[in-house]
């Protein structure tokens, strides 16, 4: 976004998308809480956003091979939530590692986060409305 609109119009939708993705992932985890061998999925977003905002370390990763980990886009608008599978743990004998209480707590927190973000989005829009009405 350029000029008129500040970066909130870029980051808020990205954060809303991330919260929505996380909701889907938690729903999948809860639905599979008793599936033998199912491994919990998690969403990473805040970490990448912080990196893009330059709040992480500024060191570049050295790559000797194309498929090595890389630092992700430094453009805030391009930051996207990434889903990963936590496959190295297990909490029940059937190899499942979903802690349903933890997932419920995450889902509650994530809902509040989404509501906060959507409120912020509304306020950002309202601010522009105030300015535009003042001009007329």
């Amino acid at each position: 976004m350029s000029g008129l609109f500040n970066s909130n119009f870029g980051t808020l939708p990205a954060a809303l998308d991330a919260a929505s993705t996380r909701n889907t992932i938690i729903a999948q985890n809860i639905a599979n809480a008793e599936t033998p061998g199912y491994k919990r999925k998690e969403v990473d977003f805040e970490h990448y956003l912080q990196q893009a905002m330059g709040e992480g370390d500024d060191l570049e990763l050295k790559k000797t091979e194309e498929r090595h980990f890389q630092k992700y886009s430094s453009n805030i608008q391009d930051v996207q939530a990434r889903v990963r599978t936590v496959s190295d743990t297990r909490i029940t004998n059937d190899g499942n590692n979903v802690d349903i209480d933890q997932q419920e707590a995450l889902m509650a927190a994530n809902t509040i986060r989404y509501q906060t973000l959507s409120r912020l989005m509304s306020l950002t829009i309202a601010r522009y409305n105030t300015v535009l009405k003042g001009v007329r």
Binding site: A27, Q28, I30, P36, V83, E104, M107, T111
Partner: protein, 149 residues
Amino acid sequence: MLDIFSTMNISASGMTAQRMRLDVIADNIANAETTRTPEGGPYRRKNVVFQEVLDKAMGIRGGVNNTLSTDQLGGVHVQSIVEDQRPFKMVYDPSHPDANEEGYVQMPNVNVLREMIDLINAQRSYEANVSSINATKAFASAALGIGRG
């Protein structure tokens, strides 16, 4: 919005799977003392096998990080209903019409106590999926509220 409905479908698939499990548990409890079945012999305890639903056709993006797209997620389904192969209980009851020469009757390998525990488990899992749906509804109404001030 599509994302919200697909999330609801995931939770709904969880509810369907748990309901099926409840059906199977009810069947087990109802037949806890059934000594005659169409296949012959006493009733065998049944159990559901859950399997995660993933749309493999969508492919897995990002290789190294094992990054999945949420479009691929389809919740859970009951892959099969299997019979418990544990031996039948032998109960001494010479007056029973299905008793053998020594007076023992083969009773189903159903442990009602265990079924009750599974029942509670299924019920709680069902409720967890219901609360996921409610959370998703809260998402939808929050999203619809954007820009309303």
